[in-house]
C-alpha cells in the first residue's frame, strides 16, 4: 500500500515540482523581462488565438508585458509569501503548542485564550483592518500571513504534545532521565512532524487564496511587485475582453491549490495510523 502511488497524486506532485522550479528560478525562467512594457502590443492574445503573436505565448497584459513572464514572477511571489507566511505561522504556533502542552495549567489556559481570541475573528477581517489602517508593505504583508494559521498549529501541536506525553514511549524516555528538551526535540517533534506537515499542506493553499482575496479587495501584494492574486485581481475586469489575463492566473492558483490538496491527502493517508492496517 505504501509503495503504490496513485497516478493523480503523481501528476499533482510533478506539477508542484515544476511550480517549485519556476518559483525558484523566477525571472530567470521568464522568456521576457516581466517588467518590460510595450504599449504597442497591449492586450495581445495567447499565441494560438487570432489576436495572438508568436512572441508572447500566453499573451500580454494591459501594459503589453508578457503574461507568461508575469505569471512566473507572480508565482514566485505568491509561493514565496505562502511559504514564508506558513513557516512563520507554523514555527510560532508549534512553539506555542509545545509551551502550552509542556506546562499545562495556567500557562496553557492563557495561551489557549489568545488562540480563542484569534479564532473568534475571521482572519480576513484582521488582515483587512491591519492592512488598511497601517498601510501596506511587503514586510507587513508577510508578517500578517505569518499570523495566519499559527493558532491552528498551536492547537494541533498542543493536542499532539499532550497525547504524545502520555504515550508509553515518552514515559520510557523520561524515566531514562532525559531532559524535556531532549524529549520534545528528539522524540515528540519527529513523531508529530507528519501531522504538522499535513497541516502545512492545508495552510499553503489557504494563504495563496487569502492573498488572492486580499488582492481582489486591493490590499494584496502591491505593484511593482506582483503575485498571482494581483494579476488575477487586475485581470478580472478584462474577463470579457482579454480573458487570458484572469484565466491563466486563476487556473494556476486553482491547480496549485488542488495539487497541494491532493498531495496533502496522500500524505495524510500515509501518515494517518488509523488508516493503516494493523489487523491480525
Amino acid at each position: 500500500m505504501m509503495s503504490r502511488i496513485n497516478p493523480i497524486t503523481a501528476v499533482a506532485a510533478t506539477f508542484l515540482v515544476i511550480v517549485a522550479v519556476l518559483a525558484i528560478l523566477g525571472p530567470y525562467a521568464a522568456p521576457h523581462d516581466p517588467y518590460q512594457q510595450n504599449l504597442l502590443s497591449r492586450l495581445t492574445g495567447p499565441a494560438w488565438t487570432e489576436e495572438g503573436s508568436a512572441e508572447f505565448l500566453l499573451g500580454t497584459d494591459r501594459l503589453g508585458r508578457d503574461l507568461l513572464s508575469r505569471l512566473i514572477v507572480g508565482l514566485q511571489m505568491s509561493v514565496g509569501v505562502a511559504l514564508l507566511g506558513t513557516t512563520i505561522g507554523a514555527v510560532v504556533g508549534t512553539a506555542v503548542g509545545f509551551v502550552s502542552g509542556h506546562f499545562e495549567g495556567w500557562v496553557d489556559d492563557a495561551l489557549m485564550m489568545i488562540v480563542d481570541i484569534q479564532l473568534s475573528l475571521p482572519f480576513i477581517l484582521i488582515a483587512l483592518t491591519l492592512l488598511a489602517f497601517f498601510g501596506n508593505s511587503l514586510a507587513l504583508f508577510i508578517l500578517l500571513m505569518g499570523m495566519f494559521g499559527w493558532e491552528t498549529y498551536a492547537r494541533l501541536t498542543r493536542g499532539l504534545v499532550l497525547s504524545a506525553k502520555r504515550q508509553a514511549y515518552s514515559a520510557a524516555i523520561v524515566s531514562l532521565g532525559a531532559t524535556s528538551a531532549r524529549l520534545y526535540g528528539r522524540h515528540i517533534l519527529p513523531n508529530i512532524a507528519s501531522a504538522l506537515i499535513v497541516q502545512l499542506t492545508l495552510t499553503v493553499p489557504a494563504i495563496i487564496l487569502l492573498e488572492t482575496a486580499l488582492s481582489f479587495l486591493g490590499l494584496g501584494v502591491q505593484p511593482p511587485n506582483t503575485s498571482l492574486g494581483q494579476i488575477l485581481g487586475e485581470g478580472r475586469d478584462y474577463l470579457g475582453s482579454a480573458w487570458w489575463i484572469a484565466v491563466f492566473p486563476g487556473f494556476l492558483i486553482f491547480a496549485i491549490t488542488l495539487s497541494v490538496g491532493v498531495v496533502g491527502d496522500a500524505l495524510r493517508d500515509r501518515f494517518d495510523p488509523t488508516l493503516k492496517t494493523r489487523r491480525t
Partner: protein, 549 residues
C-alpha cells in the same frame, strides 16, 4: 470456580448433520500482506448444542474465519472461496439480502471489546430491541418485554435500569452481557463469540463463561468460541480446533487436545500456557532497592469554579519493599490501583502522600537534574510494545539513549546497545532497524534491553507480557528471570494474571480499590489466602487446577 462441567463433555449426537460446515474456506489477504491468504482451505463443522473452541495465536486467521462466516469481511478479503454451509445453503453464495435475513437472526456474533461494540449513541435497550425489530414485526411493547426477559436471562442486575442506560454508563462485563442478550435475542442456531472475555477481568470472565454454557444448554445453540487462552478452552470447550497461519492444524475433543495433542504446534502452545504453579520465595539479602511507605494518590477533578470536587483514591496507604534480586508481584483487577502505584514510584504520577526510597535515596524529594540523574536507578517496561518505542528512532539508538543521556560516549553506548541486543536474544545487526520491523515479542525484548542499558537497581514491569501471545509470553518471562538472576536487580511485576504472577514472583501483593489487601509468598498466599477477594480471584482463574500438555 473450577471446571464448570467436568464430565458432560459433548452431548452432541455424533454423526448428525452438522449445524454449520466450512468447506475448504479460503480468505485472501490484500496484496502486499505477508502471506496470500488469511485463511486457507479451512474445513470444519459445528454441531448443535456444542461449544467449538477455535484456538490460535495472533494472525492465525481465527477472527477472519468468524467474520467470513458472518459475511462481515470488506474489500479484497470479501472474495472468499470455498463454502460455508448452513441449513442446506452456501452462505457465501447467498444474495446479500437473503444473507442479511440470516445474519443476526439465525447466526449471531459477540465481539472482543464489549464497550466498543455498542453504539454510544443509543441505550442498551434500544440496541437489543433493534435486533428483534430488524428481523420481525413484533409490536414495540412486546419487544421491550422480550428484551427485559433477555436481560434477566443473561443475569444483568436491574434490567429496567440497564434498558435505559447508555453504554458508557455500563461496565465491560455488563456491556458483554448486553451483547450476548442481543446475540441470543432471536434464538439463533449459531453463536460466534470472538474472544468475548479477553478484555474482561478474571472474575467477570468466569461469570461470562458460565453464562455461555448455560445458554448453550438452554437454547441448544452451536457456539463457535474463539480464544487464545487454553485456560478458557479448558473451561468451556466441547471440541477444540487449533489454527496457525490460516490453516487448521488439529481438531478434536477437548480432553484429547488438552491432554494428548498430536501436532507439535499444539504441544508447543500448551507447554507455554502459564500455570497457576505458585513457587516459594527465593532467599534474598541486601538493602532494599525499593522502599515504599504509606504511599497514597488521590485524583481530584474539577476546577476552581466547581463547587463539588470529586476525589478518587487511586492508591491508599501502600507500603512495600523490594530487595536486590527479588521480584515483587502486584496483582489486582482493572481499577485496583496497581498501575497508579507503579507510576507513582517512578514519578510519572506525583503521589499525594507517602515516601519512596530507591536504593536508599529519597526519590520523591529530588528535583530537576538530580531527579534525572537518579532515574537511571529505576526503569520501566510497559504493556504495549507498539507504543513504548519511539517509532522514528532506530532501536540501537533507543537502547543507547539511556547511557548517552547519562554521559556515556557514543562508542560505549553503541557497544552497550549491541551487547544488550545479544543478551535479549536479538541480532546486533538489527540495531539499525526501526521498531515497526519487529514483532511484538521482539519489541518487548528491545524495551527490556533499553531499560537494562542503565543497569537499574529496580525494574518495573507493568503488565509487560499481557499483550503477547502465550508462547512469546513464556519466552519473555524466562528472559526476565534469567537476566534478573544474572544482574540481580529488584523487580516490581504488575499484572492482572495470577498464573503469570505465581510463576515469576517471590512475593505477591493483592490490590483492591487502591489498597494492598494481602501479601505473601505465592505458595503461601495461594494455598492459604486470608482475604475473600484473593480467594475469588484465584477461583476465577481459568483452568486453574488443570495441567496442560
Amino acid at each position: 470456580m473450577t471446571d464448570l462441567h467436568p464430565e458432560t463433555a459433548s452431548p452432541v449426537a455424533q454423526g448428525a448433520a452438522p449445524l454449520l460446515r466450512w468447506e475448504g474456506l479460503s480468505v485472501p489477504l490484500p496484496t502486499g500482506a505477508d502471506r496470500p491468504y488469511a485463511v486457507q482451505g479451512l474445513t470444519l463443522d459445528l454441531q448443535q448444542n456444542e461449544v467449538l473452541c477455535l484456538v490460535g495465536e495472533s494472525g492465525s486467521g481465527k477472527s477472519v474465519t468468524a467474520l467470513a462466516t458472518m459475511g462481515l469481511l470488506k474489500g479484497e478479503m470479501s472474495h472468499t472461496s470455498g463454502a460455508i454451509r448452513f441449513g442446506g445453503k452456501d452462505l457465501t453464495s447467498l444474495a446479500p439480502e437473503a444473507r442479511r435475513h440470516l445474519t443476526g437472526a439465525r447466526l449471531s456474533m459477540v465481539f472482543q471489546e464489549p464497550i466498543a461494540s455498542l453504539n454510544p449513541f443509543y441505550t442498551a435497550g434500544a440496541q437489543v430491541s433493534e435486533t428483534i425489530s430488524t428481523h420481525s414485526t413484533r409490536p414495540a411493547p412486546e419487544i421491550r418485554d422480550k428484551v427485559l426477559a433477555l436481560f434477566e436471562e443473561v443475569r444483568l442486575p436491574n434490567p429496567e435500569q440497564i434498558y435505559r442506560a447508555y453504554p458508557h454508563e455500563l461496565s465491560g462485563g455488563q456491556c458483554q452481557r448486553v451483547m450476548i442478550a442481543s446475540a441470543l435475542a432471536l434464538d439463533p442456531a449459531v453463536l460466534i463469540a470472538d474472544e468475548p472475555t479477553t478484555a474482561l477481568d478474571v472474575t467477570t470472565q468466569a461469570q461470562i463463561l458460565s453464562l455461555m454454557l448455560t445458554l448453550r444448554d438452554n437454547h441448544r445453540t452451536g457456539i463457535l468460541f474463539i480464544t487464545h487462552d487454553f485456560g478458557v478452552v479448558s473451561e468451556i470447550a466441547d471440541r477444540v480446533a487449533v489454527m496457525r497461519y490460516g490453516e487448521l492444524v488439529e481438531i478434536g475433543p477437548r480432553e484429547q487436545i488438552l491432554t494428548d495433542p498430536q501436532h507439535d504446534y499444539t504441544k508447543t502452545l500448551l507447554a507455554a500456557v502459564p500455570k497457576l504453579a505458585p513457587r516459594a520465595s527465593r532467599p534474598v539479602s541486601g538493602d532494599p532497592v525499593l522502599r515504599v511507605e504509606s504511599l497514597s494518590k488521590t485524583y481530584r477533578s474539577g476546577g476552581v469554579l466547581r463547587r463539588s470536587r470529586r476525589e478518587v483514591q487511586a492508591v491508599l496507604d501502600a507500603s512495600l519493599q523490594i530487595r536486590p534480586g527479588e521480584t515483587l508481584g502486584v496483582v489486582g483487577e482493572s481499577g485496583s490501583g496497581k498501575t497508579t502505584l507503579s507510576q507513582c514510584i517512578i514519578r510519572m504520577v506525583e503521589p499525594t502522600e507517602g515516601k519512596v526510597e530507591i536504593a536508599g535515596q529519597d526519590f520523591l524529594a529530588l528535583k530537576g537534574k538530580h531527579l534525572r540523574a537518579a532515574r537511571r536507578r529505576v526503569q520501566i517496561i510497559f504493556q504495549d510494545p507498539y507504543t513504548s518505542l519511539d517509532a522514528r528512532q532506530k532501536i540501537g539508538d533507543a537502547i543507547a539513549e539511556g547511557p548517552v543521556i547519562h554521559g556515556a560516549s557514543t562508542r560505549d553506548a553503541t557497544r552497550i546497545s549491541h551487547d544488550l541486543l545479544e543478551a535479549v536474544g536479538l541480532d546486533p545487526v538489527a540495531a539499525d532497524r526501526y521498531p515497526h520491523e519487529f514483532s511484538g515479542g521482539q519489541r518487548q525484548r528491545i524495551c527490556i534491553a533499553r531499560a537494562l542499558a542503565l543497569q537499574p537497581d529496580l525494574l518495573i514491569a507493568d503488565e509487560s507480557v499481557s499483550a503477547l501471545d502465550v508462547s512469546v509470553q513464556a519466552q519473555i518471562l524466562k528472559l526476565l528471570s534469567e537476566i534478573q538472576a544474572e544482574r540481580g536487580f529488584g523487580m516490581l511485576f504488575v499484572t492482572h494474571d495470577l498464573r503469570v504472577a505465581s510463576q515469576i514472583c517471590d512475593r505477591i501483593c493483592v490490590m483492591q480499590q487502591g489498597r494492598i489487601v494481602e501479601s505473601g509468598a505465592p505458595d503461601q498466599l495461594f494455598a492459604n489466602a486470608q482475604e475473600a477477594y484473593t480467594r475469588a480471584l484465584l477461583a476465577a482463574v481459568p483452568g486453574a487446577t488443570r495441567v496442560f500438555g
